[in-house]
Amino acid sequence: MSTERTVLVVEDDEDDFFLTERALRRFTRGRILHVESGRAAIDYLAGNGNFADRNVYPLPDIVFLDLKMDQVSGHDVLAAVRVNPPGAMPRIFVLTGSNEPRDREMVKDSGVASGYVVKPLSIEHLTSIFGQPLR
């Protein structure tokens, strides 16, 4: 079961998503879902519009959330989740290129994130989240 956790990756950069998904595949056989904007992430987690169909868009166990995205940022997503938490709260990890203490503090202060990871997602990060790699 623990090897089949559903992961949602919120990432607007194609290359970053490719590398993140590739790293994740060693740790989970579950679905890896991808949305490319903060707006879509908020809608997905709230079950708005098309996302209401949880068979197609299941609530994830784990979310990897980019911070710097156009229009709706990762910080905005955290704020929205705090105001309107989904039925089953996933563990949300911020996965960002930013190493700025200010971002770190803001994420911590949001109170809804389980961790802050500076890209790239490493074996050590993944092991501490998922446990040992598959195979």
Binding site: T96, S98, N99, P120
Partner: protein
């Protein structure tokens, strides 16, 4: 206040007979602007406005009038000293001098004129007093000018401050953008080169795999450089909240958090207790991880790194020594290595040449000092000296809340290993 229409209004209060009318007539002829006050209330109102002088006859000096006069005298602005002419009564008993004496006090000019009074005397007296009053107006105007100048200076200072603030904000936005946008393509570069090595390992000839490794290493080096430049600007401009810090728990934290140090943890010996110092937690973590990182890095090939951390007291300060068994630093290079981009080691040992500059800048901003003693082949001993603090001081582990998964900012010259 400036440019009042009638600055030379002369208030007259003379209740008996034709006194008021006569005085008023004389003054008007003399080119002044007299105003007769029938009641104390009239005088009170008149004095509220701008008046050049006051002419009173002795009979007006009643118990009711004096408090009104005193109140106005005391409420005068610093430049003002309103002149009063007191005209004595007709015949005996003449109490003029006595009344005049009673009215006198700080910042009040009382001129006593005795009857019989000639018009010329009255006019000459008022001319003199009003001339003096004009000097007071000039002082008032100068004071206003000074105030206006001061407030314009203040607003210019405020403008400049705002401008500087804006520049600092722009710089911060710039470094944020450097941190994010400049590093993003580097990450892709290293990531794809690694993916190439791993996913197509069987198809790549050994030479191609070697090139991939070189790409990864170059991208890492560039990434470390941008990280270090950012860390340097951060210790240069960040707000340094100085608190008492328990060095023993801080060193534990540093060693546990950084993989490079964990793998050599066995060789790092800490001679406890190190005690407490006054410093900025995040910057001090940065300093010690840089120093310890260097200490385990610069060992000759085939030699196991041995690092000793100890403390000595220097008066009210504590000096923390980090001693290694590395290659050592030539006397000639010892001052240079604390400057930006200066390195004593050749290209063989990777590094950005910023790590020690970060340490020096951070420690100096905490009010401390750094230094090194070393000779080639005999290792190096770096030290940081800071004001000591009295225990109990905050445990760093508590400050940093280790229960949650919050990897610390990555260090000057280290970074978390990538997927291999």
């Amino acid at each position: 206040m400036t440019g009042q229409p009638h600055p030379d209004v002369v208030l007259i209060m003379a209740p008996i007979g034709a006194d008021a009318t006569n005085i008023s007539t004389v003054l008007r002829r003399g080119g002044h602007a007299p105003k007769i006050c029938r009641t104390i209330s009239d005088l009170d109102t008149g004095m509220r406005g701008e008046c050049g002088a006051i002419v009173l006859t002795e009979e007006t000096l009643t118990v009711q009038l004096k408090p009104v006069l005193n109140r106005h005298f005391e409420a005068q602005p610093a430049w003002s000293d309103i002149p009063v002419v007191l005209i004595s009564s007709v015949g005996a008993p003449n109490m003029g001098p006595v009344f005049a004496a009673r009215l006198r006090g700080p910042r009040r000019t009382i001129t006593l004129l005795e009857r019989p009074l000639r018009s010329v005397t009255l006019l000459a007296t008022l001319d003199t007093l009003l001339a003096a009053r004009h000097r007071q107006y000039e002082i008032r105007d100068l004071l206003h000018e000074r105030d206006a100048l001061l407030s314009s200076l203040e607003s210019r200072v405020a403008e400049r401050t705002e401008e500087l603030q804006r520049m600092v904000e722009e710089m911060e936005a710039f470094s944020y953008s450097v941190s994010h946008d400049l590093r993003s393509p580097l990450r892709s570069l290293a990531g794809y080169a690694e993916a190439l090595q791993e996913d197509y390992a069987d198809e790549l000839p050994p030479g191609a795999r070697q090139y991939c490794e070189k790409i990864v290493r170059a991208a890492r080096r560039m990434d470390n450089l941008t990280q270090d430049v950012l860390a340097y600007t951060r210790v240069t401009r960040c707000e340094m909240e100085i608190t008492p810090i328990d060095l023993d728990s801080l060193l534990n934290e540093v060693i546990e958090q950084y993989p490079i140090l964990v793998s050599s943890a066995g060789s790092i010996r800490i001679h406890r207790p190190l005690g407490c110092v006054k410093g900025h937690v995040a910057s001090l973590i940065q300093c010690f991880s840089n120093l310890l990182g260097n200490a385990v890095k610069f060992v000759p090939e085939g030699k196991t790194p041995h690092v000793d951390v100890r403390m000595t007291s220097e008066g009210s300060r504590r000096r923390i020594w980090v001693k290694d068994n590395g290659v050592g630093i030539d006397q000639a290079d010892q001052a240079r290595i604390f400057r930006m981009f200066e390195r004593a080691a050749g290209k063989k040992v990777p590094g950005t040449g910023i790590g020690l500059a970060i340490v020096k800048k951070a420690v100096e901003r905490m009010g401390g000092a750094v230094g090194v003693t070393s000779s080639i082949g005999h290792g190096a001993e770096f030290w940081i000296e800071l004001e000591s603090a009295d225990p109990p001081c905050a445990n760093v582990a508590e400050i940093k809340n280790p229960a949650s998964f919050w990897p610390a900012p990555s260090m000057g010259m280290m970074q978390l290993p990538a997927i291999s």
